[in-house]
């Protein structure tokens, strides 16, 4: 679900080394300029490959870690219907992670290397998952705001220049719409309930609003995307996407009957957009650098899942090996 428009270096990517070659470079540049696609086995500049491995794997890690805050509520969903919906959503997040890992692997990096980068803390994932899900309304707000912000970020990626990434994103975006709508639907149900339930929704909105608009990453003036823009990976700037999200969300909040926790949020007729208040970037960087409320828990949960699954992975391989031997003997 969730790219964070922030490409944070997390160490050397280990794709196969290719000698830089002017003729190949010219062909690559021409393809990009014509709005064409680069495919897995095509020649590409090393920096393009590394940037993609970093961005796609950070995105994949985000999907996988993103299963945790919502998985937290599966056993406590208030009805069988909501439980089935939440299970399907969390399963989708796992699926999205797998599409993306597969896309990253086409660039010459192994799945284990990618996991290892996540589990060792070397690789980043979207900071939004380092916030806790405190009440049931959080599940609705994650769908509405967090997935809503993710969709804004991800739609332009469907047209990104790297074929396998672009195709994975098309599939993801198709499924993402369900995530946002189920979240809003859940909140509507709560808003039609008791005053306490309405308070829970407002409380969740208050906590998730700012982290959601931080998902678009630093302001354009503070972020360098020249190369990713030239390469056709990033197509719309952070601030433009953020503005689009805010503009779309105000009306949805109104219909829902909640307020957005920003006293400076108001319509600017001259710009034709909503103005909004200053973002607390200290908080953003604090969470990115590992000091959010849940950074330690999230990583510990992933490490535990990997370690607890080790015997299963090993046993399955051994089973496959024995079976292959038996079949060979029988033949």
């Amino acid at each position: 679900m969730y790219t964070q428009s922030l490409s944070i270096p997390d160490g050397e990517a280990r794709g196969p080394k290719k000698v830089e070659n002017p003729a190949y470079q010219a062909e690559f540049d021409a393809k990009i300029a014509a709005g064409g696609f680069i495919e897995a086995k095509d020649w590409m500049p090393e920096a393009y490959r590394k940037t993609l491995i970093r961005q796609i794997s950070q995105h994949a890690h985000s999907e996988i870690v993103g299963m945790l805050p919502e998985g937290n509520w599966i056993t406590r969903a208030p009805s069988l219907k909501r439980k089935a919906i939440l299970l399907a959503k969390v399963q989708d997040e796992g699926g999205h992670g797998l599409y993306l890992y597969a896309a990253a692997e086409t660039l010459g990096v192994s799945r284990d290397e990618l996991y290892e980068a996540l589990l060792s803390g070397k690789a980043k994932y979207s900071s939004i998952f380092n916030y806790p899900t405190l009440n049931w309304a959080d599940i609705g707000v994650i769908g509405w705001l967090v997935d809503g912000a993710a969709i804004m970020n991800q739609i332009p990626l469907c047209k990104c220049s790297y074929g396998p990434y672009s195709r994975a994103m098309v599939r993801i975006c198709k499924e993402e719409s369900f995530h946002q709508r189920q979240g809003y639907d859940l909140l509507l149900a709560m808003m039609r309930g008791t005053p306490e339930q309405r308070d829970m929704v407002q409380d969740a909105v208050n906590r998730w609003w700012w982290p959601s608009i931080m998902m678009f990453g630093p302001h354009d003036k503070d972020s360098v995307h020249t190369e990713t823009t030239r390469w056709g990976i990033k197509r719309i700037s952070n601030d433009d996407l953020r503005q689009k999200f805010v503009d779309a969300t105000v009306k949805q909040a109104e219909v829902l009957g909640v307020s957005l926790p920003d006293p400076d949020l108001k319509w600017n007729a001259e710009r034709g957009h909503y103005d909004f208040g200053a973002i607390d970037w200290d908080e953003f960087w604090n969470v990115v650098q590992g000091h959010g409320q849940c950074n330690v828990d999230r990583l510990a949960a992933r490490v535990k899942a990997w370690e607890d699954g080790a015997w299963v992975r090993e046993a399955a391989l051994e089973h496959a090996r024995k079976r292959a031997v038996r079949e060979k003997d029988a033949a």
Binding site: A88, D92, D112, E116, R167, R171, R313, L317, A324
Partner: protein
């Protein structure tokens, strides 16, 4: 950390009868049976398919991207292979 990775399988899905199987991604699995199972869970959660093929990625033989000119350019100047090459009298042009 364990470094023994499950092999990679390419997944092809027929979305409905009458259409070709189409490549849709890849999965890691220890054997063919589990590869099918994983492919089903990862790529057909919303009735996207009626049939799945999985092929070990290492068994696929692909053309060399550097050989693209030799392989595909010769067809470029053979425009007579297309029906539009032939201009026929208007009365019979819809043949």
């Amino acid at each position: 950390m364990e470094r023994k990775e499950w092999p990679l399988w390419e997944v092809f899905v027929r979305s409905r009868n009458g259409l070709d199987h189409k490549h849709c991604g890849s999965v890691h699995a220890p054997d063919a049976k589990l590869a099918l199972q994983v492919a089903r869970d990862v790529y057909t959660r919303r009735q996207e398919g009626v049939s799945i093929w999985v092929v070990k990625a290492s068994d696929i033989v692909a053309s060399d991207p550097d050989a693209k000119p030799e392989l595909f350019d010769p067809a470029e100047d053979k425009i007579y292979r297309h029906p539009t090459f032939y201009t026929l009298p208007e009365e019979v042009d819809h043949m």
